[in-house]
Each structure stands twice: as C-alpha cells, then as structure tokens.
C-alpha cells in the first residue's frame, strides 16, 4: 500500500492541486459549454461535452480515493466511492432545485459544487476528529471526492437530459430511473481505478488512466440512456465518442499495465531442499 498516496514515487506524478483544477475546471467548462452551445444553437448534440466534463471530475475523484485509501481506511475502497456518490447526489439535487427556485437554473452547478465540497469537508473533519482516523489529507480528500461526485452526477445527468433545468432533470433522469445508472457507473469510475490497481506497485498514471477508461464506459452508458430522451443524433454522438475514448484509454492502460508488469522480478522456484 502506498503510504500517503505515494504520489512522490511515480515518475509522472501529477500534483493533487493540479488535478483538482483540471477536474473541477474541466467539469464546469464541459457542463456550461454544453448548456450554452445547446441553448444558443437550439440543439442537443453538444451534450457529450458535459459527459466529458464529468469524466474529468471522476478522474479527480479517483485521485482523491487513491490518496485517502492509501492510508488504509479499514473498510475497502468501494465504501468511499459510495460515500462520494451519496454526497454528490444530495449536492446535485439540492443545487439544481435551489437554482430553479431562485430562477437562475444556470447557477445550479455552482451551488451543487459549493454545497458538496463544504459537506465533504465537514465529513472529513468528522472522520478525523470524532472517529480518530488522523489522516492528514482526509478533509482535503473528501472535499475533492464530494465535489467530484456532484460534478459527475450533474455532468452525466446532463448528457441524458440535455438541459440544466431542474424540471427536465427530474422528468428525464430521476423519474425514468436513469439516475441509478449514472449513480453506479459514476461510482465505478471513481472507486474502481484504485480498487483495481492498489498494491505496492500502484502508480498514479496507471490508476488515473484506468479512471479515464471506466469514465468513458460511463459515457457510453449514459449515451445509451439518452437514446430515449434526446435526439438520436445526440445519443449516437455520445455513444461513438464514448466508445472511441474507451478504446483509446484501454490501449493506453494496457500499455501501462505491461510497463509495470515488466518490472516484476521472478523469485524462482523453491530451492530443492525446501521441497
């Protein structure tokens, strides 16, 4: 298990601060660009941008999982992914609903992000102060994780609803039950990378590329859902780009696995005296 996230050891380690900027920035740019382009041009084919933004957020979340779980939390990695999505779903629905009540549906993403991150910080503080985890990056990690969960939910939900309006989200994502798919696929993109790659030879780039790969699969999944809610063109675009991205990252991940596996040294068979 890499202590302290182990970011220092990997040669191509990306700093957590930088990844946070990429993740949050990418998610906000993706979702807002999709919302603006869709509404200005009166189409829904740009919904893929929001899905891509959600992938950026999921990668940030995967890095946060990696850093927190590197300390060992005693319950397995999936629990923290479920926590991220649990916090994210509350933040997302609160943000979008509040924005609608205030009459500024575009601000929903920001409200969701801020609430989710504050709540994540508080949960991190509880974990350290009340439960005595004493993980120095717990607050920071859960802040990232909660924000990533909220952005992933909103981004992928947008790719299904094609609109940031709360009523559309409820009608096309909540009431249809597609949110459950977003929930599980998004959770996998956040929790699976570290769960699959953890161990003494865990490398940040391999874990994060795995996150991109699983995130792309989630894009394909929401693309399939959007066949029922958006125009066929928009859905096909989302599915094709998601599948292409999945293939690209799969090949990349495979290369990294081979790179790291080649470093494993065989210890040979047991000496004859031991048999």
């Amino acid at each position: 298990m890499t202590v302290g996230g182990g970011a220092g050891g990997a040669p191509s380690a990306i700093d957590a601060k930088k990844l946070r900027i990429y993740g949050i920035g990418g998610a906000l740019v993706g979702i807002y660009l999709a919302a603006i382009l869709n509404s200005v041009l009166g189409t829904d084919i740009f919904s893929i941008l929001a899905a891509a933004g959600a992938v950026a957020a999921a990668v940030m979340g995967a890095n946060a999982v990696r850093r927190v779980c590197g300390y060992g939390i005693g319950t397995g990695v999936p629990s923290i992914g479920m926590l991220a999505l649990g916090m994210g779903i509350v933040g997302a629905s609160f943000g979008l609903s509040t924005a609608e009540q205030l009459g500024v549906s575009m601000a929903g993403v920001i409200i969701a992000l801020v609430y989710a991150m504050i709540f994540g910080y508080i949960v991190g503080a509880i974990a350290n102060k009340v439960m005595g985890f004493n993980i120095p990056i717990m607050e920071e990690g859960l802040t990232d994780l909660s924000g990533a969960g909220a952005m992933a939910i909103i981004g992928w939900s947008y790719a299904i609803s094609g609109s940031l309006a709360y009523a559309d989200m409820v009608a096309k994502v909540f009431n249809t039950g597609y949110l459950a798919i977003v929930f599980i696929c998004g959770g996998l993109a956040i929790l699976h990378p570290f769960n699959a790659n953890l161990g003494p030879d865990e490398k940040q780039d391999r874990t994060l590329v795995n996150g991109l790969m699983v995130g792309s699969l989630a894009v394909v999944a929401v693309g399939l859902c959007s066949l029922a809610t958006l125009s066929t063109t928009a859905a096909i675009i989302t599915i094709v780009i998601g599948a292409a991205a999945w293939y690209y990252f799969y090949v990349w991940y495979y290369r990294l696995v081979k790179r790291d596996a080649a470093a494993v040294v065989g210890t040979g068979l047991l000496p004859p005296s031991a048999l």
Partner: protein, 229 residues
Amino acid sequence: MNFDALTIVYILEIVVGGLLVGVGVHFVPVGGAPAAMAQATGVGTGTVQLAAGSGLTGLLAAGLMMSVTDNIWPILASGAVGAMIMMDTTMMAGGWIYAYAVGAPFASAKVNYDPITGYSQPPYVAPGTVGQGIPTVCYVSGTIGAFMGGLGGAMIYYPLMMTNHNPSLSALFAIGIFLVNAVLASWNIQGTIEGFHDPKFKRWPKAFRSCLVATVILALVAVTITGGA
C-alpha cells in the same frame, strides 16, 4: 421555503432516520472478504453493501406502502419488515453455504458462550481464523440491525415524499442520505463486526455523533428540495 412547524418535524424525522441507520449498521454481522473465505464470522461482503441492500429493500417496501396510504405507521413498519426479510434471507442463504458447501460450523471468536443459546464457541473455531459462519447471536443481531436500518430508511423517505411528492426523487435522495450514514458507521467499526456482543459495538456513540452532524446538514437541505415540474 418557509420553516414552519411541520418542516421542523420533517427535519427531525430525517435526522432520527439517519441516526437509526448509523447505529443499525453496528448490529449487522459483516465479515468482508475474510468471511467470504469462512475465516471470520458474518456475511461475506462489505458493511456498506449489506446496509445498502437492506436499506434499499426497506425503501422499496416503504414506497410500496406509501402508494396506498399516507399514514406514517404502516409505512415505517413495512420499511422495517422489508429490510428484515432481506437481511434474514441473506444470512440464511449465507448460512446454508457455510454449512453445506464450505462445511464450517458456525462459531464466534468474540465470545466464549453464545449469549442467546449458551453454546460453547471456542471448540468450534477453526485454528487460524476468527470464527466462521453466522451463529445464532449474529442472526438475531443482524435482524435487529436490519429493523433499525429499514425503519431509518423509511423514516428518511416519508418526510421527503411529504415535501416533494416525487417518489423517484425521494428514493434516490434517501439513498444518498442512507449511504452517507452507512459509510460513516462502517468507518467507525473498521470493516468487520459480529453484532451487539462484539467489543467493537461499544464504539457506537462515535458513529451516533458523526451521523448526527452529517444528517442534520443533509436534512436542512433535503426539505428545501422540490419535486420539479
């Protein structure tokens, strides 16, 4: 959204529901990967998965009852019973596998005598393990835990339904609150626990405080959410 007396009651119901979930998780005999290999007592999966499974069944049962009545008592009861049925069938099927497939006797390594049956435990604990299977006391404890979890889930679902009148939104939001509390509780017990006889059970006040803070913050925003359209 104005915070009238009814809203405060809803907030309190959500908080109590969250606390029931948080404490209920401590009753569930969960053994994680070691239990899956019959090297520890309990059901062989993670706390959160087990708690979420029983909680979601409770939510479904509560939702079904809510579609025919608005009376809170049958809704809470069906939520609790739904979760208990799910947990009991899981433990029973798990028990069949431990008994007839793995061939392990049910034994707890945390107590010398089963508090319910009074049977001696140490002679049956396989060497190198911390017990195996789901002994009677764990089964009873798990049933109590599922009762609390299902009751808590229904208690979160009911006020949400009363404020936003949207079943799918309420259910998913309730799942969010449920998961936060279940994960906090499972962090508190550090992965595995046998039930109320386990020494780790004494840690529950920590989970109570944690879940109280977390659920209050969630409940305050939960009642402001509208049903959309």
